[in-house]
Amino acid sequence: MGLELKKLGDTLIVRVHGEFDLGAAGYCRKEIDKKVRTEGIKDIVFDLEGVTFIDSSGLGLILGRYRIVKENGGRVVISNAEVRIVKILDLSGINRLIPVYPSTSQALRYLARGVV
């Protein structure tokens, strides 16, 4: 499992690679929350391009970050997920709270302008 964090203005782009399960979620939580706390992050984009597997622990990590940034008026967006990952996002209902975009540039445009 690999994690890449990139700051773009007050948006954090999170790229997860490999299997996004309980172990990965525990690791990501620590790293992301540190970044959010110390670097004035408002919005988060989860770029799931490299994710080969996700279960409710991975989804829970995303939902947990959504709850945290929402406190300060921030938003969370998901981008770039493979078809079978999108299927699980749909089934979970997480897409009713968190918009899912096919590409990170679309996700960033949504955050910038509120539309795509």
Binding site: E19, D21, L22, G23, A25, G26, R29, F53, D55, S56, S57, L59, G60, L61, L63, G64, R67, R84, I88, L91, S92, I94
Partner: protein
């Protein structure tokens, strides 16, 4: 219904072993030709059951033992995940979507298991153990062939 093959896997309640559990079960299941989608669903269901044993059963203590028994029956793959952890006081409530109170958990573990498998059965002794039995029907052709052999 005849039993064709069976494995039992025991491991410590460490998140690093989730991957191993998924790999072992899908390698076992690959004896019959489920399609990619079925295999993906089996993986998620196993992952949910084992994650629950680690987090809720053993409260993330790493020295708990989790047992997975996978069996190929003539008509279905059966996966039983057991822990000797804290058990579930109110099982009916636990089986409802969104039942947990951890903001980092979606309360969707059992929902996923039920969506992806044909049968989900939970038995528990509060303070002692939890057992989750998952069943998924075999792909049609295999089932027909194996049943005919019996």
């Amino acid at each position: 219904m005849g039993l064709h093959n069976r494995i039992k896997l025991e491991f410590l309640s460490l998140p690093v072993n989730l991957r191993l559990a998924r790999i072992a079960v899908t390698a076992f299941a690959s004896e019959v030709d489920y399609n990619v989608n079925d295999i993906e669903e089996i993986k998620v269901a196993v992952s949910e059951a084992v994650s629950n044993a680690i987090i809720h059963g053993y409260l993330e203590k790493p020295d708990g033992v989790i047992t997975i028994t996978a069996s190929l029956w003539s008509d279905a793959l059966e996966i039983v995940v057991e822990d000797q952890g804290k058990g579930i006081e109110d099982l009916e409530n636990a089986l409802q979507p969104g039942s947990g109170d951890d903001p980092e958990r979606m309360g969707l573990g059992f929902v996923f298991m039920r969506s992806f498998m044909d049968e989900v059965e939970v038995t528990t002794e509060p303070g002692q153990s939890t057992t989750v039995r998952l069943r998924k029907r075999l792909p049609g052709e295999v089932q027909a062939q194996w049943c005919a052999e019996k």
